[in-house]
């Protein structure tokens, strides 16, 4: 399988503070499922930000889809971002847009004609089990429902990579398992999935998933090798 993401000695520093991430090296292969674990404050969110191009590395090389993402001109970032779906830790749903419009956003951004948008959005609403909540505003949805809308929004554009930051952090265990099942089903369709979580109970739920563990801004294996989740 092709390498879809490659980090080589990547470091990230905010301003003049100490490095948040240091010497991060790893490779993600296309169509795989990865967990990114580690305690709170280990740098999981920062690493994901590098992955979905919300940050540039302070040093090192990030190769995304075969290109050096660190030196990409700003004008090319949108094209890359459209290939990556992101589920934010805090959902980041647009509060004044309905669930339907939130899910439709990536398609509208991509310039899809309005007439072609309804069918995939309805399909997504059904996929996340919220068919009858399309008109609801995010503020009227439960945490789990908001999370599912955020997942639907992240995957509706059929991204090559799906990045989810603590997607189960705000939901009960049953809902966490259901969300994980959604990611797994998406992975089976060929999407590379990266889920950041500190919930070790989830790691065994996806048999073929691999795990990266971050501690104090470093992958705990200095070679950056990917580990199988603990059984």
């Amino acid at each position: 399988m092709a390498n879809i993401v490659q980090f080589e000695n990547v470091g990230l520093r905010y301003g003049t503070s100490a490095e948040t991430l240091s010497d991060i090296s790893f490779t993600l292969t296309s169509g795989s499922f990865y967990f990114l674990t580690g305690p709170s404050g280990a740098g999981k969110t920062s690493l994901l930000k590098l992955l979905y191009l919300a940050q540039r590395p302070s040093r090192g090389v990030i190769r995304l889809f075969g290109e050096d993402a660190g030196s990409l001109p700003r004008a090319r970032l949108p094209g890359f971002r459209r290939r990556i779906g992101v589920v934010f830790q805090d959902f980041r749903l647009v509060p004044h847009l309905s669930a339907y419009d939130n899910i439709a956003l990536p398609l509208r951004v991509a310039g899809m004609p309005e007439g072609d948008i309804e069918a995939p959005v309805r399909e997504m609403l059904a996929w996340v089990g919220l068919t009858d909540r399309g008109k609801a505003l995010p503020t009227t949805l439960s945490g789990g429902e908001q999370q599912r809308i955020a997942i639907a929004r992240a995957v509706i554009g059929r991204p090559e990579v799906l990045v989810a930051d603590e997607p189960t952090g705000n939901v009960d265990p049953d809902m966490a398992e259901r969300l994980l099942h959604l990611f797994d089903s998406l992975n089976r369709l060929g999407t590379t999935v990266v889920v950041a979580t500190h919930d070790f109970h989830l790691l065994n739920r996806i048999p073929n998933a691999r795990m990266m563990r971050l501690e104090k801004g470093r992958l705990n294996d200095p070679t950056g090798a990917l580990r199988n989740p603990p059984q």
Binding site: P78, R92, V94, P106, G157
Partner: protein, 295 residues
């Protein structure tokens, strides 16, 4: 993202702009109200100045000051004949002495009618073209070297200068308003970017380009400017129309020149459109510049 005039179009909902009345609309209404008034003042003064120029440019009064009434009348007759012979002179008539006496009556009483009173002979001359004015003056001096020649344009020049100053002042005000509008739009766009920072960040993460985001703001500000501008402009045009009708009632030759022509009304109607374009451009520049500083 496609752009639609439909208030419920998805892209219009994106910035949560749907149904709220925004201060920007009213600011633009006030700006355009003042701008259109300034523009009307400028165009009116420009028209009046042009009319004054047309009316006075070739108008002269030749005075023959001669105590001997017989000699004065002879000189006046020769003067009229000589001036009429000058090319470009369209009219040369001696002012009616009875009318002059009537004009002097409030000051001199019936003494103004006394034929022995040494009143000057006055000859009104209308000439076309500056070179012909000089020729007419030369001809008058040939007949009566002591004749006094008044160019009307000269003694009305302070009025003309004042009108010209008002025209420039109005043009300056319009420019000032345009600059202020640009500044207001810059501030509004920046404030809008701050207000909608989270939404814009999400849009960026979903692959939205800066131009797509800028278009959301451009369209929003263009709408505000057009709606506010239309309100302000029509109110100002109403005021201008009212004032114009009052000027007409005054019957003043100078003030009648202030009346706006069809072309002027058209120019005033273009102001809100021009300001909407200006605001759109300013919004685009502000948003792109600010977004360019982010990742």
């Amino acid at each position: 993202m496609k752009f639609s005039l439909n208030p419920n179009a998805p892209d219009r909902r994106l910035l949560d702009e749907g149904r709220r009345t925004r201060a920007m609309t009213w600011i633009m209404a006030i700006m355009l109200f003042l701008t259109v008034l300034s523009g009307a003042l400028g165009l009116g003064m420009l028209g009046a100045t042009a009319q004054l120029d047309r009316q006075l440019a070739g108008r002269l009064t030749v005075q023959i000051i001669e105590p001997n009434a017989e000699l004065r009348d002879n000189q006046a007759k020769q003067m009229v004949a000589a001036l009429r012979a000058v090319p470009g002179v369209v009219r040369a008539d001696e002012a009616d002495r009875a009318k002059l006496a009537e004009l002097l009556k409030p000051w001199l009483g019936d003494a103004g009618l006394d034929p022995d009173l040494p009143m000057p002979a006055m000859i009104d001359v209308d000439v076309r073209g500056d070179t012909n004015v000089a020729a007419a003056e030369a001809a008058a001096k040939r007949i009566v070297p002591a004749a006094r020649i008044d160019r009307h344009a000269q003694w009305l020049s302070p009025v003309r200068n004042f009108m010209s100053t008002l025209t420039w002042l109005a043009a300056g005000l319009v420019l000032l308003m345009a600059t202020a509008t640009g500044a207001v739009v810059l501030l509004a766009a920046r404030s809008g970017l701050d207000t909608h920072r989270d939404t814009i960040e999400v849009l960026h993460m979903l692959g939205s380009t800066d131009l797509q985001v800028a278009r959301l703001f451009q369209r929003r500000i263009a709408f505000d400017t057009l709606i506010g501008g239309a309100l302000g402009s029509f109110a100002a045009l109403g005021v201008v129309w009212f004032l114009q009708s009052r000027f007409g009632a005054l019957g003043s030759e100078i003030l009648s020149g202030v009346a706006l022509e069809q072309r002027d009304w058209f120019i005033l109607l273009l102001l809100p459109l021009s300001f909407a374009l200006l605001a759109t451009f300013a919004a685009r520049v502000a948003v792109l510049r600010k977004l360019g500083a982010t990742l």
